[in-house]
């Protein structure tokens, strides 16, 4: 829109001599209708005279040398409704003061729809959620996808772990894929970018957030394309939704400089209550005593159990300490309360610091506008040696060459460093060890070195934080757009884009850590990921009578090349020398892969009288990832909208300001996730230095994209002077030809086969409700609620065979992705009588069954697993679907209160109805086996404490109490105060006094509280980062921090 204005300004300059005869002028002040504040930089245009000016620091404008006559005058300002009026100018000055109405919900703003196009929100026919800078600014986050959490209906975002710069899961309208990507396509200023982690060095399950290289402060808006009508233009990559990121651009006028600084402190206060050393020792004595000596009547007191156990084990030349490998039992067994305790979680959790400094400048003249920015972001995590730093710079430049041609560029370069910790499913995980390590071992030796003994299978978690895992990512994302007007109604755009990321990872495990013992262990990896894109686009725009046609056609080529070199070294002379050169033994390897996409696409928007709107799109994609028999796919879509509010019969209905019905249908795709997955492959191996080949993959020339057919119906309503705006969407997505590395019998020599088999269905409802609750001169209260529900169901699989995933997840027809398949439990067996009664009752029904078949090895204090199928026998066929990681509802709720300069913003984010499988409980909930246990175990069953629901201590655990069961499944619902911000914006008077354009002071708290009922470490958790089918498992992931930050934004 700005560009349009500028173009007309340019035309005016060329035509300037014509104005010599003009005599009159127009002037006035532009103010906010509700607050009366003057508006600086509002555009006032006089259409017929092709004149545009902007208001000055006092909100004043003046247009001189106007020939006498009648003019259409238009006043526009971002965030306000357009004002138009007719003015007659004579030979003198005409005063026109304008009061602009706030456009609370951006009904008049434009929405970006991809391929250089934008459209007035009122004319959008598909389901697109726009999140503007003003909504993004209230949350501080290290990456743009983290910013979106809770902001857009139907976009479910889970921070898989709290690792600074760590991975994030984004799902637009549910999961449509099992083994392909479920991530949306990210397009930054027209360039589809890679959001992959690319990390080569594993630190458990978590990867890196590929988008954390982008400075969120540069973002003007994020559009989430949700239905097929919106995403089909992205064809074989559109099925998971598309997220369009538009960065800020400059505007003509005086240079504006913005400077911001934020300083924050973060901490963690939700540690799991673990046993202290005395409780721990007693538990082991109980457990081993129960296994070897307990006969149903000889439990005695603790001291007698300990003495009996000593005597029994002594007969084998053993002690309780040597048998369990916990020598502290021998030292303190006779008086456990004397044993000193190390609180490992206290040792590894600390206070983190966040600092962010941002500066930007924007301005220019009518032919050239610029936006440039620099950003420094530093986050020290709540665990020692975890952190994230980013330095980034951007230059966005727009230039009008002449009346036919203009050119623009968007360039971003950044360097980010992620310091990661080993965590999750990882014996070297810091958190794993901080929770499971024996409390009886000290963190440090007397001489200050790390203690490594007395820890059993575990590592000293404090030492483990010294393992260096640095990932340095330098990234360039840039594009050049060259526009040429070929005809009045036809223009061409040439777009060249480039995205390069260099990821250098260095890991060094020092000699004093288990991971690096005995003499240091290093891995170094360099990965280069390059994507280039060239596009030729034709734009056609024609208005006649009540018809409006707008069309684009695009030819697009994109290629991605990836290469990686990895080297490892072991045995270093000293820990100070950490480069692989210094290692006694080194190995190395290199890897390269590539993919390409050739596409033809088009879109036609047709509008009739601003009442009936139609959009048709189509795209043909040919991908190197498709098998030889399926070279290209066609992805069409259509949508219609009816703006009822523009019908004559709606005239006079003052309550309804806007009413639009939308309907769309279309087909999108999801291309195979990996390169060359359709080929039969043999890979290189070595045996005793001789090179060999081994089959790595079975061929499938029929491999193609996953195909999603989506239907969407939506309503957009604005009521009561636009103080209530509602958007409701209902959709149905059916995904067929699911790409599945489907498990095959391993007896074939292969474990999986990439093939298009299976279907998934997603059905959902989304509601966005924004309201201005109170509006007076000084006070504004507005609310925004978005809530979405999505029902996911796997509707077919290969021969409908279910398969397992993760720890307890299972993929099965008729079930959601992310269901948990495990044993059901019914408390514990409290007494032997209870067991005997049950056994005899089953034997009454099924004669001949043994007690072992009926209850397994259960004794009192063991978990009572349920014979689900009712055949009397307890075995693996009694497993059942006992929970699901899919939430019933997700969303966000924001309230903003403004009083004079003060502004209070509270943003809640929620997920309701999802379950968590706490796999960590299989470890800390196995009382007396190689780990420390949580304090819940203090209430464990014993002959002295039979009225409980906590299983007994047992080293052997013959009943397998810790098998996958609903004993470890919890409700994962939560409502979290994601952010609470209090800000003060200085008003024009105050600013004038201090000579600034704007000044804002704020304090913001993140994750201040969470309403939840989950006993594990962190309710927002997802240990299998990025997996589509292993959802909702908690297994020692880095938790979210609570933070408080203070900041200032200054405008010069």
């Amino acid at each position: 829109m700005v560009k349009k204005l500028l173009t007309s300004y340019l035309l005016f300059l060329i035509a300037a001599p014509l104005g010599l005869f003009a005599q009159g002028s127009l002037s006035g002040v532009v103010t906010d209708e509700t607050t009366g504040e003057t508006l600086i930089g509002a555009y006032v245009s006089v259409q017929e005279a092709e004149r545009v000016v902007s208001t000055n620091a006092n909100g004043r404008y003046e247009i001189t040398n106007l020939a006498a006559g009648t003019y259409d005058v238009q006043v526009t300002y971002v965030g306000y409704k357009k004002f138009t009026t007719e003015v007659t100018v004579g030979n003198s000055n005409v005063t026109l003061d304008v009061e602009l109405k706030p456009d609370y919900f951006g009904l008049e703003e434009v929405v970006v729809t991809g391929y250089g196009s934008s459209i007035d929100r009122a004319n959008v026919t598909s389901s697109i959620t726009k999140v503007g800078a003003e909504d993004l600014d209230v949350v501080t986050a290290s990456s743009p996808n983290a910013l979106l959490q809770g902001k857009a209906a139907g976009v479910n975002i889970v921070q898989n772990s709290g690792t600074p710069g760590g991975g994030i899961m984004v799902r637009v309208r549910g999961s449509t894929s099992i083994s392909g990507s479920n991530d949306p396509l990210y397009v930054i200023d027209g360039v589809p970018v890679n959001d992959d982690s690319n990390a080569a060095i594993g630190v458990g399950n978590q990867g890196l957030n590929g988008l954390s290289t982008l400075n969120p402060n540069d973002i003007e808006s994020i559009e989430v394309l949700k239905d097929a009508s919106a995403t089909a233009i992205y064809g074989a990559r559109g099925a998971n939704g598309v997220i369009l990121v538009t960065t800020k651009s400059g505007s003509a006028g005086k240079t504006q400089i913005n400077v911001g600084y934020t300083h924050g402190v973060k901490s963690f206060s939700n540690e799991i209550d673990m046993m202290d050393s005395g409780e721990f020792i007693e538990m082991y004595v109980d457990g081993v005593f129960a296994d070897f000596l307990y006969d149903g009547s000889n439990w005695g007191d603790y001291n007698s159990r300990y003495t009996d156990l000593q005597g029994f084990l002594g007969g084998f030349g053993l002690t309780p300490g040597s048998y369990t490998g916990i020598s502290a039992i021998d030292t303190y067994g006779s008086d456990p309360s004397q044993a000193p305790t190390t609180d490992w979680q206290d040792e590894v959790f600390g206070t983190g610091i966040t600092d962010e400094f941002t500066m930007s400048a924007q301005g220019g003249d009518v032919t050239t506008q610029y936006y440039m920015s620099g950003n420094y972001f530093n986050e020290d995590g709540i665990m020692e040696n975890a952190g994230f730093q980013r330095l980034s710079g951007r230059l966005n430049l727009d230039h009008i060459i002449n009346e036919r041609m203009d050119i623009s560029t968007r360039v971003n370069y950044s360097r980010s460093v992620t310091e990661r910790l080993e965590n999750d499913n990882n014996i070297y995980g810091v958190l794993t060890n901080a929770i499971l390590s024996y409390p009886t071992a000290p963190a440090f030796n007397d001489d200050g070195t790390y203690n490594t003994s007395g820890l059993g299978a575990f590592s000293n978690p404090v030492a483990q934080t010294e393992v260096k895992n640095d990932a340095v990512r330098t990234r360039f994302v840039g594009n050049i757009d060259f526009n040429v007007d070929l005809l009045e109604t036809l223009s061409a755009t040439f777009r060249a884009g480039f995205d390069r990321q260099d990821l250098k990872e260095d890991q060094y495990a020092p000699s004093f850590t288990n991971q690096g013992s005995p003499a240091g262990d290093a891995t170094s990896s360099v990965g280069i990921d390059e994507t280039w894109l060239t596009e030729v686009q034709l734009n056609y725009n024609q208005d006649f009578d009540v018809h409006n046609i707008n069309a684009v056609g695009v030819l697009s080529y994109q290629e991605t090349n990836f290469e990686r070199t990895v080297s490892t070294g072991t045995t270093f002379p000293v820990d100070e020398l950490q480069t692989i050169n210094s290692a006694a033994t080194t190995t190395g390897g290199a890897f390269t892969t590539s993919s390409g996409l050739e596409s033809y696409l088009g879109r036609v928007n047709y509008g009739y009288d601003n009442r009936y709107l139609v959009t048709l799109t189509g795209r043909v994609d040919a991908s190197s990832r498709f098998g030889g028999n399926e070279e290209s796919g066609f992805f069409p879509s259509a949508s219609v909208a009816w703006r009822l509010s523009n019908e004559s019969f709606m005239e006079g209905m003052d309550v309804v300001n806007d009413l639009k019905l939308r309907l769309s249908y279309g087909i999108t795709g999801n291309q195979p996730g990996g390169n060359f997955t359709h080929q039969g492959l043999y890979g290189g191996v070595s045996y005793t230095g001789v090179a060999g080949l081994r089959p790595t993959q079975f061929p499938n020339p029929d491999l193609k994209w996953e195909e999603t057919t989506q239907m969407n119906a939506g309503v957009d309503v604005a009521l009561f002077d636009e103080r209530v705006v509602v958007t409701v969407d209902a959709y149905m997505k059916e995904t067929d030809d699911l790409i599945l590395a489907r498990p095959v019998p391993a007896s074939t020599g292969f474990t999986s086969f990439q093939s298009n088999i299976g279907s998934i269905e997603n059905k959902g409802l989304e509601l966005t409700l924004t309201t201005v609750n109170v509006q007076t001169k000084d006070f504004l209260w507005s609310s925004s609620l978005n809530i979405a529900t999505n029902a996911n169901e796997v509707t077919s699989l290969y021969l409908d065979q279910p398969f397992a995933s993760g720890f307890a997840n299972r993929v099965a027809v008729g079930q959601e992705l992310g269901v948990f398949y495990a044993y059901e439990s019914d408390g514990i067996w409290n007494t032997q009588d209870e067991i005997d009664e049950y056994v005899s009752s089953v034997q009454g029904e099924f004669a001949g069954l043994t007690a072992g078949q009926i209850v397994g090895a259960a004794v009192p204090g063991d978990v009572r697993f349920v014979d689900v199928n009712g055949d009397g026998i307890l075995n693996s066929e009694d497993q059942d679907y006992v929970g699901s990681a899919q939430p019933d509802f997700t969303g966000g709720f924001t309230n903003t209160l403004k009083f004079k300069g003060f502004e209070l913003n509270a943003f809640f984010q929620f997920s309701i109805g999802n379950d968590i499988y706490n796999n960590a409980q299989a470890f800390y909930g196995h009382y007396a086996y190689s780990y420390n246990s949580w304090a819940k175990g203090l209430d464990r069953w014993s002959p002295d404490n039979t009225d409980t629901n906590v299983p007994r201590a047992s080293w052997f655990d013959d009943n397998q109490n810790t098998r996958d069961s609903d004993f470890m499944i919890y409700d994962g619902s939560y409502i979290r105060l994601k952010s609470l911000t209090l800000a003060y914006n200085f008003n024009a008077e105050q600013l004038e006094a201090i000579g600034l354009r704007s000044l804002r002071l704020f304090a913001t708290g993140q994750n201040l509280f969470t309403i939840e009922d989950y006993p594990g470490l962190e309710v927002e958790t997802n240990t299998f980062d990025g997996s589509n089918i292993s959802l909702g498992t908690d297994f020692f992931s880095y938790p979210q921090a609570r933070s408080i930050a203070f900041g200032v934004n200054i405008g010069l």
Binding site: I427, S517, T570, T593, L681, R694, P745, T748
Partner: protein, 437 residues
């Protein structure tokens, strides 16, 4: 002015199309298409090397879990799946059983490809004898795979042709144990007759002597005791001495195994996932030099670790079959045949003396100085001491039928469960899980 935009437009369009037009034409760079492998002599050779590499992947795991399931080693670490192997309460979802299954069938499919495709390669100078050699080595490895599977799982699906399609045709039911053994014997007999009495001590590829030695092992399991003795004699008479390894897999720090890693204590480069049982430590006579071979205490803290594989960079070679095993096979076979204690002891004493122990007294004038049970116990003891951590103990206990009493487990637990993943994916296995799972 007008022509400038025309030139720019045309040039940009031309450049973009030229740059982009073959963008979907991509080829993998570290893999080759499967169709190109079995077309040359080199292809045949590298495919066979691939089979050895696959065997290299699985053998250390096989030995770990055979030992852990036996009574000489116990779980000391944090993997619950290892604990289940040790405590004989495996579930069909146990990851270790599943992985052994996967690894062995991977190797079987590789060997099936070699055996089926190599004879058909038509290349000048690639002789029938060379092809037969490659096929014979593949058959040795296929037999080893099936022998491990049949001992762990009992009757198993037995594909003998390479996988050509992943459809219903791959749903194979379980093949009876006797038929699996018959196939193992056929593979090894074929290999022995193709390769003749080839091979020398320390071989790192399957040889004729390897095949004969393995036939001796299979014969013992099948109760064909005379065959066991004859095959062993064939090998021992061909220049193989008592301390020799007949076939082993070499490892290096670049191509390493995890055997030492899992046994070494934390802080000494390992993760101490398993260790010797007290019973095992107590089996050693103080004079037995094998104590220091099989056990070690790397940081001298009094806690002994398994020590047969001790190089922390994973460089230890791993024996597949040794001359000592052949002597002990002979001793057991002679005992079973009732050939008299002198014959039996003749194969035990060289092993005892080599280990620094006194030979068992054997007065030639006195018959039955030892009961059969005493002799069997001595054979099992020597196997435990001599062949420890070489993939025998659990199978030995089962072969002589004492696993149930040793561990107090029901008979059905002597077979591992068929992995759940194959129960789920192979309808031909439905309802045919091993009993008790």
């Amino acid at each position: 002015m007008n022509y400038i935009y025309k030139i720019l437009t045309t040039l940009t369009l031309a450049a973009f199309v030229v740059v982009g037009c073959d963008v979907t034409d991509q080829e993998p760079k570290q893999s080759v298409d499967s169709g190109t492998v079995f077309t040359t002599e080199n292809g045949a050779n590298v495919a066979l090397i691939g089979a050895y590499d696959a065997y290299q992947d699985v053998l250390p795991d096989d030995y770990v879990f055979t030992e852990l399931a036996g009574d000489l080693a116990a779980h000391t670490g944090s993997f619950p799946s290892w604990g289940s192997v040790d405590q004989h309460n495996m579930l069909p979802t146990n990851a270790e059983g599943r992985d052994l299954w996967i690894f062995y069938y991977d190797l079987i499919n590789i060997t099936n490809n070699v055996i089926a495709q190599v004879p058909d390669i038509d290349q000048e100078g690639f002789t029938d004898a060379e092809k037969a050699q490659i096929v014979a080595e593949a058959k040795i490895l296929r037999g080893l795979s099936y022998h491990s599977l049949v001992r762990f799982f009992g009757a198993v699906p037995m594909p003998l042709t390479a996988t050509r399609a992943l459809d219903e045709s791959v749903f194979l039911p379980r093949t009876a144990v006797a038929d699996v053994y018959a196939q193992i014997a056929t593979d090894w007999s074929d290999a022995a007759s193709t390769l003749g009495a080839t091979g020398s001590a320390g071989a790192i590829r399957g040889t004729g002597l390897t095949a004969s030695a393995l036939l001796s092992r299979a014969s013992l399991y099948l109760g064909n005791y005379q065959d066991a003795i004859d095959f062993a004699d064939d090998v021992l008479g061909a220049g193989i001495a008592l301390g020799d390894v007949i076939f082993q897999l070499p490892y290096s720090s670049e191509d390493f195994n995890n055997l030492s890693f899992f046994a070494r204590p934390n802080g000494s480069g390992g993760r101490y996932e398993y260790g010797p049982t007290v019973d095992y430590i107590n089996l050693f006579d103080p004079a037995d030099t094998r104590f220091d071979v099989n056990l070690m205490d790397v940081n001298a803290d009094g806690t002994l670790e398994l020590g047969k594989y001790r190089l922390i960079d994973g460089d230890d070679n791993v024996p597949v079959i040794t001359a000592a095993e052949l002597h002990l096979i002979k001793a057991e076979a002679n005992l079973e045949l009732g050939n008299g204690e002198t014959t039996v002891i003749a194969d035990i004493n060289p092993i005892r003396t080599a280990a620094g122990l006194a030979p068992l007294p054997d007065d030639p004038n006195t018959a039955n100085e030892y009961t059969d049970q005493e002799l069997l116990n001595e054979i099992l003891l020597q196997r435990a001491l001599e062949l420890a951590q070489e993939g025998h103990r659990w199978h030995d206990l089962n072969r002589v039928g004492i696993a149930t009493t040793t561990f107090g487990i029901p008979a059905n637990m002597t077979l591992w469960p068929i992995p759940q993943r194959d129960m789920d994916t192979n309808p031909a296995l439905e309802g045919n899980q091993n009993p008790g799972y």
